[in-house]
Symmetry: C2
Subunit: 411 residues, 2 copies
C-alpha cells in the first residue's frame, strides 16, 4: 500500500538524517515546516505528494509527526488500583495502604489471579487506546510476577501481546521490582541470576531494576548491570523516584542505557548524566499523580542530556496511557519547548529501545510510523487532555482514524 500525506502545515523533521539520538540542547534544531510525505512498502519514501497513492490524506492545517514512542510502560498488568489512589490523595499513609493489601503486591495478586486471556485482553485494550493517542512503538515490562515462574509468565504474556497489537514492541525484564515474600533482596537477586538463561533466550532486550528504600539498592543495580552485560541485554533502572540514593553514577558505571524517574536526582549528577550516553527518562505522570518532586528536566535539557518521556503506564503510580497528556505535563513542569517534549517521546525514546534506526523520526527509509494531528504541534501540550491525534499509520498501514474524520482520507 502507498500513502500520500498532503500539504501539512507542519512536518517535524530532524536537523540531519541518521542520528541515533539528538541531545536536548539541540532540540531547537528540529524543523516544523509545511510539506507532504509519501509512504511506500511500509517505509517513508519521499517528502512529496504522490497523486497515484492508494490512500491520500488531506493534512492541511495539521502537524505530521513521527509515531510516538512510549519507552517506559508496565504493560501487561491485571486490573486497576483506583481505590488505593483515592486513599493516597485523601491522605491515608502508604503504610496503611500496604497494610490493607495495596501497592505492587496488589497488582502481583491480580496478575496471578487472572487468566492469560484476561491479562492480554486488558493490555490489548490499553495498547489500542495508546494507538489512538499516537503511540506506534511501546515497551512492555514484567515486574508483577514476583516469583521466577511469575516473571517468566509475565514475559511470555508480553510476547503474546506483541503479536496481537499493531504497534512495534520491545520487551524489558523488570526482574527486580519489589522483593517477593520469603526472600531478601539478596536471595531474590540469586533467583534472578538463576533465571537469566531462560530470560536471555526469550525476546527481552533489556533488564530493569527498581532502586529505592522499599526495593533494591545500588549494589543490586551493579549486580544487575553485570547480568545485563553478560547476556547482551541493555540495562535500565528506576532510580531517584522518592529519595536521593546517588544511583545515577552507579548506573553510568554499570553501562545503563537509561535511568528512569529522577524526581530526586542529585544536582551533582546532572552534568555526568548529561555528558554520558545514557538517557534521562522522565515520567511526569508518576510525578504529578504521586505528588512527587519535579525532575530537573530543564537543567538536563540545557546540559545536553538525552532526555526522554514515557507514560510509566501502570496501575499504581501512573495509570496514564496518553503520551500527548504526558507532553502536556512535561512542558508545564519542566519548562520545555514543544520541540523538546516531542523529541523526548520520538527519536530519543526510540533510541532507549534500540530502535532509532527504524523509528522515532521522519526520514526516508525509516519505517513509516506517522501520526497526523488536528492542529499545529504547539497544541499538543497547550490543549491539555485533548487528544490531538486523528490519523495513525504504523509501518505504512492506516492503523487508526478518529471517527468523524474519515472524510479527510481518500482511498
Amino acid at each position: 500500500m502507498s500513502v500520500s500525506i498532503e500539504h501539512a502545515q507542519e512536518v517535524l523533521r530532524p536537523p540531519e538524517t541518521g542520528l541515533a539520538y539528538l541531545r536536548h540542547d539541540r532540540a531547537g534544531e528540529l524543523t516544523l515546516e509545511g510539506g507532504s510525505l509519501t509512504l511506500e512498502g511500509g517505509r517513508i519514501a519521499a517528502f512529496a505528494v504522490d497523486q497515484a497513492a492508494d490512500v491520500r490524506i488531506d493534512a492541511r492545517g495539521c502537524a505530521v509527526l513521527p509515531g510516538l514512542v512510549d519507552c517506559h510502560t508496565h504493560l501487561p498488568f491485571a486490573g486497576w488500583r483506583a481505590d488505593e489512589y483515592e486513599l493516597k490523595v485523601t491522605g491515608v499513609p502508604y503504610e496503611e495502604i500496604a497494610r490493607r493489601g495495596g501497592g505492587i503486591a496488589a497488582s502481583a495478586r491480580a496478575l496471578a489471579g487472572a487468566s492469560d486471556d484476561e491479562v492480554v485482553a486488558q493490555a490489548r485494550g490499553l495498547a489500542a487506546e495508546m494507538l489512538a493517542h499516537g503511540t506506534t512503538t511501546l515497551e512492555t515490562k514484567s515486574g508483577y510476577g514476583l516469583s521466577v515462574d511469575g516473571e517468566l509468565r509475565a514475559l511470555a504474556l508480553a510476547a503474546r501481546l506483541a503479536g496481537e497489537v499493531p504497534q512495534a514492541t520491545r520487551s524489558t525484564a523488570l526482574l527486580a521490582h519489589a522483593v517477593p515474600d520469603r526472600y531478601t533482596a539478596d536471595t531474590w537477586m540469586d533467583e534472578v541470576e538463576g533465571m537469566m538463561g531462560e530470560v536471555a533466550a526469550g525476546p527481552a532486550s533489556a533488564l530493569d531494576i527498581y532502586v529505592e528504600t522499599v526495593a533494591f539498592t545500588n549494589e543490586h543495580l551493579t549486580r544487575m548491570g553485570r547480568l545485563a552485560r553478560g547476556h547482551g541485554l541493555a540495562l535500565r533502572a528506576h532510580v531517584e523516584q522518592f529519595g536521593t540514593h546517588r544511583s545515577v553514577p552507579v548506573a553510568l558505571e554499570a553501562g545503563a542505557r537509561s535511568v528512569d524517574h529522577l524526581a530526586c536526582l542529585h544536582p551533582d549528577d546532572i552534568a555526568p548524566l548529561a555528558a554520558s550516553e545514557c538517557a534521562a527518562v522522565l515520567l511526569p505522570g508518576a510525578e504529578f499523580l504521586g505528588a512527587e518532586r519535579t525532575a530537573p528536566g530543564r537543567a538536563l535539557a540545557d546540559a545536553g542530556a538525552i532526555c526522554v518521556l514515557g507514560t510509566d503506564a501502570n496501575p499504581g503510580t501512573s495509570p496514564v496511557v496518553s503520551l500527548p497528556a504526558i507532553v502536556g505535563l512535561a512542558v508545564r513542569r519542566y519548562g520545555w519547548s514543544v520541540r523538546e517534549a516531542l523529541l523526548a517521546c520520538t527519536l530519543n525514546a526510540a533510541w532507549v529501545l534500540g530502535l532509532s534506526a527504524e523509528a522515532g523520526s521522519l526520514e526516508a527509509g525509516k519505517r513509516a510510523d506517522v501520526i497526523v494531528l488536528d492542529g499545529p504541534a504547539a497544541h499538543v501540550p497547550y490543549r491539555f487532555a485533548h487528544n490531538p491525534v486523528w490519523a495513525v499509520i504504523v509501518a505504512g498501514e492506516l492503523a487508526w482514524v478518529r471517527p468523524g474524520s474519515e472524510d479527510r482520507v481518500h482511498r
Copy 2:
C-alpha cells in the same frame, strides 16, 4: 423516547431529593450503589429496569452519573493562543508576551476578525468535544468583545450557539474582563452601566467581573453587584487568581452567587465563604497550566463551602474542555475524594447556574441528563487524561455514544 440504563455497578445519587446544593462537608453522603434507571419523556422516571424501553443500555461494570455541568467556560471564543503558551512555559515574561500582542487583547482581536459563522463553528466543535466528555450543561461567557458592540455581539453569538448545541446552556455577561483601549476601568464601568438595559433584555442570567491588578478593583466589583441586583441578574466574580485582594468579603457583601479561581484566597476568608450561600468555583486547569498557587480546596470542603469545579475553557489560561481531566487535577491538587470532585461538577455547579432544580443529580422528575462511564467512578481522576465517558444522554435523548461501544446500546 424511553431509555433504560441497566444493572450499573454504581449509580451516583444524592442523600436526599430536592437539594438545591450540597455543602462539601456532606459530600461523603452521596451514594454509589448498583442499580438501574429509566428515562421517559426527557425526565428521569424511576430507578428500575424498563424491559419495554425504546433504548436499553447495558451498564454492567459501569458507573452512571448525572450529566456533568461546566459552570465556568469562556465559550464562544475565536482561535487559540498556543504560541503564547509556549513562550509562557519557557520563561518569557508576561510583559514581553503582552508587548508581542498576547493576552486577552489577542483573543479580542481574533474575535473581532472572525465571522459569526467562524466563531460559532469553533465553539460548536468544542461543545461537541465537551459532550463526548460528559458535559450536558455548560455556561457561555462574553468578555472578549472589549467594546460595547463587541460585548453585545459576543452575547448574541452565545445565544446563537445555545440553539446549535445539544446541551443546556446559560449565558453570563462578563462585561468587565479587561479594560479596553482608550478607557479607564472607571469609564469602562460607565459604559457597562449604559449597556445594562440591552444586556438585561437578552438571555444572560448573570454578570461577571475580573478583579485583579491588571483588570478591575473591589470597588468595581461592588458596582457590578449593584448592577446585577438592579437588573435581576446573578453576580459572579473572577477573584484571587494571581494575587490576594480580599475580594471575597466584597463579593459576599455584593450578594455574589459564586467567586471563581481563589488560588490566592486569604485564609481568613475561608470560613465566611464557607458559611455563606456563595459557591467557591475552583479552576484547577488554569491553576495547573498557569503554574498558579493551589486554591484551598481541602479547607473549603472541610469548612462546608459549596465547592464547584469548572474547566475555565479559554484560549489563554485554560484551553481545556474535559471535566473528567479537571476532576483528575482537582482530586490530586486539593486532596479531594471522588465524591467531592463529582459533587463539584454536578449538583453544585448546576446551582451556580440556577439550574439545580432541573439538572446536576439523578432524581426522579429531573431532566434526564445522564452519562455512563466505562468503569467505576473512582476511575475518573485515577485514569488521568482517559475519557471515561462512553454514553451521554441529554434530556432523555442519546446524544453521544463512543465509537466501538454501540453494541452495548440495544434499540
